[in-house]
């Protein structure tokens, strides 16, 4: 059974819908990547899943539970986590405090999760008492991911994790995402760096104008000449 299913979802921010019947489904072990041109509705799909905008028709089923239009503070305890593209760290708080905020919903002792996150991102342990606002872009992205992992999610959603990062960091972030996935977390991410992201994807979705255009494994989509011509720059 898929960990998450988005079925014919229509929704947007105001009167005009941005999503016009989007379908996404991934399994617990998948790395799902959503690509497409600007304005296609990629980030909007993630925000629709996470309750940050209104879904007017269609279903979103997570772990067997219908969650359309549920607010984030109900979704995080269920095992859903989201890393926004911008302003994704608390700049006036230390790295360690940022991670603690990720564990807000947990009432148990989360120090072992904290150590796991530090193990995955050693530079964060080094800078644990530094203000998140003082870190570089790549380090901030790691804080943002670490924060989302503190709630031990089943599904981690990322909105353009490589945005604004230098090429070296882009590779590093994607490798970390694969590591997280191997640890048992399903990944659903939106990416502008389509070719690089699809190389890691077990499931790829190409969206245009709020609808699905192509679907397949990452390898299939890279190999498909039509996809390559339209979206991957040949």
């Amino acid at each position: 059974m898929p960990i998450i299913e988005v079925k014919d979802v229509v929704g947007g921010y105001g009167a005009v819908p941005i999503l016009n019947g989007v379908n996404i489904a991934i399994e617990q072990s998948d790395i799902g990547v959503i690509v497409g041109p600007n304005g296609a509705g990629k980030s909007t799909t993630l925000k629709a899943i996470f309750g940050l905008l209104r879904v007017t028709s269609g279903n979103i089923v997570f772990d067997g539970q219908e969650i359309a239009n549920w607010l984030p503070d109900k979704l995080v305890p269920m095992g859903l986590s989201f890393v926004p593209q911008e302003k994704n760290v608390f700049t006036s708080m230390t790295v360690e405090e940022n991670l603690e905020m990720g564990a807000f919903i947990r009432r148990d002792d989360f120090s072992d999760t904290l150590e796991e996150v530090y193990g995955m991102f050693p530079v964060l342990k080094e800078k644990r008492r530094q203000l998140a606002g003082e870190l570089s872009g790549g380090q901030r992205q790691m804080v943002a991911m670490g924060r989302a992992l503190m709630s031990k999610p089943k599904l981690l959603m990322l909105d353009e994790p490589s945005a604004g990062l230098s090429p070296r960091f882009v590779l590093e972030i994607f490798e970390k995402i694969v590591t997280v996935n191997k640890a048992g977390v399903a990944i659903l991410m939106v990416e502008q760096n389509a070719r690089q992201a699809l190389a890691f994807a077990t499931r790829g979705f190409v969206l245009t104008q709020g609808q699905n255009r192509f679907t397949g494994t990452g390898a299939e989509l890279i190999a498909d000449p039509e996809v390559a011509k339209s979206f991957l720059g040949g």
């Binding site: 940050l52 926004p84 302003k87 006036s92 405090e97 990720g102 709630s151």
Partner: protein
């Protein structure tokens, strides 16, 4: 030496007391501004309301014939602080939350708070009239005299009991607030929400709980500040009018949304006011003998006459908004 004692009695202690009142009021305003993102103009009247709660409770206990070594206005503080906190939270449920649910802009909430302040002024006058009340009709206001003869002074350091408690309780509250914000889960969640409200929501932080705590803490501190001010001078329904401008000046100076800034700002404004209305000619009098004939020492060397005390806060507020609107600790600038 006597002059130093005089300065301490009239300027330093007064500055500390009034600074404490402004600091606690400003902390409430700044917390609401940082987390709820609007300027709560009703805060002055919430402080007055808190003072009235204390007065009523103190009078009730006096009527029962109970007396304590500490002024009854201070003893009833825990109860009146709790009452004020709950009433302020009630105002949110009744007035501000429905507007927030409809997506009201900060300016709308500000105007709503002006409405609340007018309502409070009317209600307080309805129940208490327009006259002044003293907390010390039935009991004495204790005065502490600290003899400084060993330092060569002939006058003692004088401090009233409410003043001593005010300074002490403010210190306790500031330390408690600092510990709460840096050590507790809920305190850190408040800082997170003040920093980045949408990320706080995305992280699963219970934003309703944080909002509730903000109102409760602000209400309790407002009651403390209002009661202590009324104990120091008198309880009048228009206590609020003279307080609201200095409190906002203090909050803005310190950086809106920065609690430590509000505390610093409160003392800054408090001392600025006190030192501006202080008659400096007392200090310069001993030097009269050394001055050449053409320089005459004026009878009153206060920077600002006492009736114009509010001018000081106004000038500070305008100066900060023009030169550095985000304040000392760089808060939000809207």
């Amino acid at each position: 030496m006597d002059i130093i004692v005089f300065i301490i009695n009239k300027a330093v202690i007064t500055g500390l007391v009034i600074g404490s009142v402004y600091a606690l009021g400003a902390v409430g305003v700044t917390l609401i501004a940082g987390i709820l993102r609007f300027s709560h103009f009703a805060h002055g009247d919430v402080m007055t309301m808190g003072a009235f709660f204390s007065f009523v409770l103190a009078a009730f206990f006096a009527g029962l014939g109970l007396h304590w070594p500490i002024a009854s206005g201070i003893v009833v503080l825990p109860v009146s602080m709790a009452a004020t906190a709950l009433v302020l939270y009630g105002f949110d449920i009744a007035f501000y939350a429905p507007l927030r649910r409809r997506g009201a802009r900060p300016i709308t909430l500000l105007i709503a708070s002006i409405g609340v302040t007018m309502m409070l002024q009317g209600v307080l006058r309805l129940f208490a009239g327009t006259q002044s009340y003293s907390f010390f009709q039935n009991e004495p206001k204790l005065l502490y005299r600290i003899d400084l003869g060993w330092l060569g002074a002939t006058r003692p350091l004088t401090l009233t009991q409410p003043q001593a408690f005010m300074i002490g309780l403010t210190l306790v509250c500031c330390i408690a607030l600092a510990l709460f914000l840096t050590r507790s889960r809920l305190g850190k969640a408040m800082r997170a929400m003040s920093d980045n409200p949408s990320l706080a929501q995305v992280s699963g932080i219970n934003t309703q709980l944080v909002v509730r705590m903000t109102w409760l803490i602000s209400g309790a501190l407002a009651c403390l500040a209002g009661t202590m001010l009324a104990l120091d001078v008198q309880l009048k329904p228009d206590l609020a009018f003279n307080i609201i401008l200095p409190i906002f000046a203090a909050a803005v100076v310190g950086g809106l949304g920065q609690p430590y800034g509000a505390i610093a700002g409160g003392f800054l404004v408090g001392f600025a006011e006190t030192l501006s209305v202080f008659d400096w000619s007392v200090v310069t009098k001993p030097f009269n003998a050394y001055l050449p004939d053409f320089i005459v020492n004026a009878p009153n060397l206060a920077l600002v006459p006492t009736e114009y005390k509010l001018v000081v806060s106004f000038v500070i507020l305008v100066a900060v908004l023009l030169s550095r609107p985000t304040g000392i600790f760089k808060g939000v600038s809207t």
